[in-house]
């Protein structure tokens, strides 16, 4: 016997419980990524020589990955639009497309890191590289987690069930996109 959630709406706030929970998660994510980025900026300003190290990151790979994430955000919001119209199967297909975008992102990142590690730019190669791998790695982990959850949501959406989850996972995915929007200039462009 399945148990159905009773409280689906936070009456006092006039917001669905699931969506509110996602925003609470994002609050903690802001603290996590904000801490990493703030301390990176602090050290970067104090270490002008890091610009020399940053010059070895691959701008084109970073730019391509930004394009991939922006495009995956588009498919995520179109999935929400489809869910809003009650078209679960279409929402599921668009979510799968979003997952594909996440996969491309991780593949590009894998090749990028491989090249850098081969050339000696490892986690211990300097302060910049420590931040580079920590921030980008933490972000990549969030991309991976989003992909797994999104596949699960797509599976239920395909059957026209729990369509509100399409929006919830979309909000999370857009946040991951925004984090990358800031990581890209910080790690790749600022030389």
């Amino acid at each position: 016997m399945s148990v159905k959630t009773i409280a689906t709406q936070r009456a006092s706030m006039n917001i669905p419980t699931g969506r509110l929970a996602v925003w609470w998660v994002l609050l903690s994510e802001i603290v996590i990524f904000g801490g990493v980025l703030a301390s990176y900026i602090l050290h970067r300003l104090g270490h002008p020589e890091w610009a020399e190290q940053a010059a070895h990151t691959n701008v084109w790979a970073g730019a391509f990955n930004t394009l991939v994430l922006l495009t995956s955000s588009l498919s995520a919001v179109l999935a929400h639009q489809a869910a809003e119209k009650g078209d679960g199967p279409k929402a599921a297909r668009l979510l799968q497309l979003t997952v594909f975008g996440g996969l491309v992102f991780l593949i590009v990142k894998t090749f990028e890191w491989r090249e850098e590690i081969i050339h000696g730019y490892t986690l211990q190669a300097g302060g910049f590289w420590s931040y580079y791998y920590t921030a980008a790695g933490l972000h990549a982990f969030h991309v991976l987690a989003g992909m797994v959850i999104m596949l699960w949501v797509a599976n239920t959406a395909r059957k026209n069930q729990e369509l509100h989850r399409v929006e919830n996972i979309g909000i999370y995915w857009h946040f991951v996109d925004i984090v990358w929007i800031f990581l890209f200039p910080l790690l790749y462009i600022a030389k």
Binding site: H43, G46, E52
Partner: protein, 149 residues
């Protein structure tokens, strides 16, 4: 009906899925974001520091705002959500402010750093793995000794 009240309660919404509020052309928004991305990549190529900072970080702020507003629908989201985000960002600023004196200031009675502090962020020895040049800044020679005579 206000934008806020429309979010999540408009007739015709399926299974609790929140409607998007005002009509948005998502493909057009995406195209603008891509155009901004191109500018943020090309801008720094000019080599002018002001242009680089403006195009890279200024555009990043614009892009983040556009994604938050149009894709996350933050413009029609409930006030509690705005407060949550403000708290998160305030904590980030607080962290920066609390750490800045220690990391960025190297002078004063309690701010003297160990002489190896900055060197610890830049390895002394070249790190070779694939035969290419050492990681930039590997010598540590250019490491500024903030606050040290």
């Amino acid at each position: 009906m206000s934008a806020h009240s429309a979010h999540g309660h408009a007739p015709g919404a399926h299974a609790g899925v929140a409607p998007h509020g005002p009509h948005r052309n998502y493909v057009k928004i995406w195209a603008i974001l891509v155009a901004l991305l191109v500018i943020s990549v090309v801008g720094p190529m000019t080599g002018i520091r002001v242009v680089m900072l403006t195009t890279a970080f200024g555009i990043a702020l614009v892009k983040a705002y556009m994604v938050a507003k149009n894709f996350m629908h933050l413009d029609i989201e409930k006030p509690i959500v705005h407060w949550l985000l403000i708290v998160g960002l305030a904590l980030m600023v607080l962290l920066y402010g609390a750490l800045a004196p220690d990391i960025q200031k190297g002078e004063g009675q309690y701010w003297k750093k160990d002489e190896n502090f900055h060197k610890s962020f830049t390895p002394e020895k070249p790190h070779t793995g694939g035969g290419q040049a050492q990681p930039a800044g590997g010598s540590g020679a250019g490491t500024p000794e903030h606050g040290h005579p």
